[in-house]
């Protein structure tokens, strides 16, 4: 509760740059949690989530440019498109029985197919990308220029909604089945769980939620291109939060994003050398993955558990 209050007041006192950092923390906490819901839960690590983010960004931006459809509705279209693509990715990978590294490589390859297709798709701006037309501040147009504070509240509302959804799923048949699949697929199958179906469902949920993050990104940055929203480094951005914070935990992606994103933004702002931000954040991610594969959230687990102990859930976050 105290944390929520601080989060609600914080943007008012921040400088514009720090506000930007906070928004990026929120965005990558959101997409990291979306990734986590599908991948951390069932243990299938996708390195291709940029495709879902990109599809969300492109769907809403295209619909706005062409028909002035509100990005909120555009986001819904993006969610449906991404869920459809998530179903294809899941169906291909899981039907082929891809596991471990092979699954990771397949997701990168499928996302690259999407990116290269968009680069060569002239009607969607090709490699140049799409520039969002600037209009006056409004919630309908999802644009705020005089102050960026609304972006902050929107992304944190999205994050809270996502965490609530995750909590609901955790305490339902779906959540039990996801955890069962992660723990032991053969046993899950022997107890009547259609593991293929539920793995595809997890991928679709994760893809759909990630796409919404893509729309937010497009509205915030006002410019998208296949390289800025669909490339492998975007997938890396998405999964660094959960990997550093703790995969499959409720608050790991938020914590990880709160560590990784400021480091990257500060490196970019004060050291500046192109690519150094990824050198620093990447090294950190590798170090955490090697030395503390369960994520740094373990160091904070006790206080977090105290906060969430009131939930009826009895098993550890899947």
């Amino acid at each position: 509760m105290a944390g929520l209050l601080v989060a609600a007041i914080i943007p008012i006192v921040l400088t514009p740059f720090l506000l930007h950092v906070a928004i990026m923390v929120g965005l990558f906490a959101y997409v990291g949690s979306a990734w986590n819901l599908g991948c951390g839960y069932t243990g299938k690590l996708s390195w291709g989530h940029s495709a879902f983010m990109g599809l969300g960004a492109y769907a809403s931006t295209m619909l706005y440019i062409a028909y002035r459809i509100t990005p909120w509705l555009g986001a819904l279209v993006g969610i449906l498109v991404a869920a459809g693509f998530g179903m294809i990715v899941g169906a291909i990978c899981f039907r082929l029985g891809l596991k471990g590294h092979y699954f990771v490589i397949a997701t990168i390859a499928l996302a690259e197919i999407v990116r290269v297709s968009f680069i060569n798709w002239a009607d969607l701006g090709g490699a140049w990308g799409l520039l969002m037309p600037v209009v006056r501040d409004s919630l309908y147009d999802f644009q705020f220029h005089s102050t960026r504070i609304p972006y902050y509240y929107i992304i944190f509302a999205m994050l809270l909604g996502l965490l609530y959804l995750k909590w609901r799923i955790t305490n339902s048949k779906l959540g039990y089945y996801f955890t069962a699949i992660k723990d032991d697929e053969e046993m899950a199958e022997s107890l009547g769980i259609d593991t293929f179906k539920y793995k595809v469902i997890a991928m679709m949920i994760s893809a759909a939620l990630t796409a919404f993050g893509g729309t937010f990104y497009a509205q915030y940055v006002m410019y998208i291109s296949p390289d800025t929203v669909m490339s492998v480094h975007v997938s890396t951005d998405i999964l660094m939060g959960p990997v550093v914070g703790g995969m499959g935990t409720l608050l790991g992606p938020l914590l990880g994003s709160a560590i990784v994103q400021p480091i990257m933004e500060l490196t970019r702002a004060y050291v500046g050398r192109r690519g150094l931000d990824y050198v620093v954040a990447g090294s950190l991610t590798v170090a955490v993955a090697l030395m503390r594969p369960s994520g740094v959230i373990g160091w904070f687990e006790k206080p977090f558990e105290a906060i969430f102990a009131s939930s009826s859930q009895t098993h550890k976050e899947g």
């Binding site: 339902s172 069962a180 032991d184 199958e189 009547g192 259609d194 009895t314 550890k316």
Partner: protein
């Protein structure tokens, strides 16, 4: 009509014939013991009957419906559930949650799943360990848990793979009692077992496999005197 009917099932792995035209019937309400030396094909037969393997030849029918081509979860929903020789568990869950996972096979409702799980845990004698994480269970309790998860799916037929392996004599007696109680609930059991102390007193019928072939079938007392069985287990001078 038998509940489970296995007809001339053959399963090869490359040049190895793991099952060679094996037939057996499991009748409703009985405990059928399946024994044989290591490598006889017992677990392979389980895997064929539960959809984990597809037999190369032969027919498997349950309640007069073919099971061939069905996946394991579909077979579970038809009413056949198995346990595993090497004990499997959902290691990040608590005892109650993992049994509830089994119960979700028949319900979508959380309360109902927990209720069914609670009664399954009472039956297998784990009621006092509901909230314990699975990591904290010893081997006997893990076997009880495996049975609990399987029971929670409300099966008609249970296939148990070596429930008594690794247990001491007292624990074996407890499991023997448990199997009888499960049978008395109206379930049918097909039990693979090495431990004769367990299987001989409870089984209504014993089938012996050796090198993928059925070499004997009959009442436990008859099978124990069978020449071919003694030879398979002890060899001949």
């Amino acid at each position: 009509m038998p509940l489970l009917e296995i007809r001339d099932v053959t399963k090869r792995f490359g040049g190895l014939v793991a099952l060679d035209a094996v037939s057996l019937d499991v009748n409703e309400g009985e405990i059928l013991g399946l024994i044989g030396p290591n490598g006889a094909g017992k677990t392979t037969l389980f895997n064929c009957a539960t959809g984990f393997y597809r037999p190369d030849l032969g027919q498997i029918r349950f309640e007069d419906e073919s099971l061939l081509g069905l996946s394991p979860h579909q077979i579970c929903l038809k009413g056949i559930v198995r346990t595993f020789q090497i004990v499997k568990a959902f290691h990040t869950m608590t005892v109650l949650d993992s049994v509830a996972t089994g119960a979700f096979a028949r319900t979508n409702n959380m309360e109902q799943a927990r209720k069914k799980a609670t009664s399954a845990l009472e039956l297998v004698g784990l009621s006092d360990k509901k909230r314990v994480p699975i990591k904290g269970l010893n081997i006997v309790d893990r076997k009880r848990l495996g049975l609990g998860c399987a029971l929670a799916t409300e099966p008609k037929l249970m296939l148990l793979d070596e429930v008594a392996a690794g247990l001491n004599p007292v624990e074996i007696d407890q499991v023997t009692g448990l199997l009888r109680r499960i049978r008395d609930l109206g379930l049918t059991l097909l039990v693979v077992e090495h431990v004769m102390k367990l299987i001989m007193p409870v089984a209504d019928k014993i089938v012996v496999l050796h090198h993928g072939k059925k070499i004997a079938e009959g009442k436990p007392s008859d099978v124990a005197r069978d020449e071919a069985v003694i030879e398979a287990y002890l060899g001949r001078e």
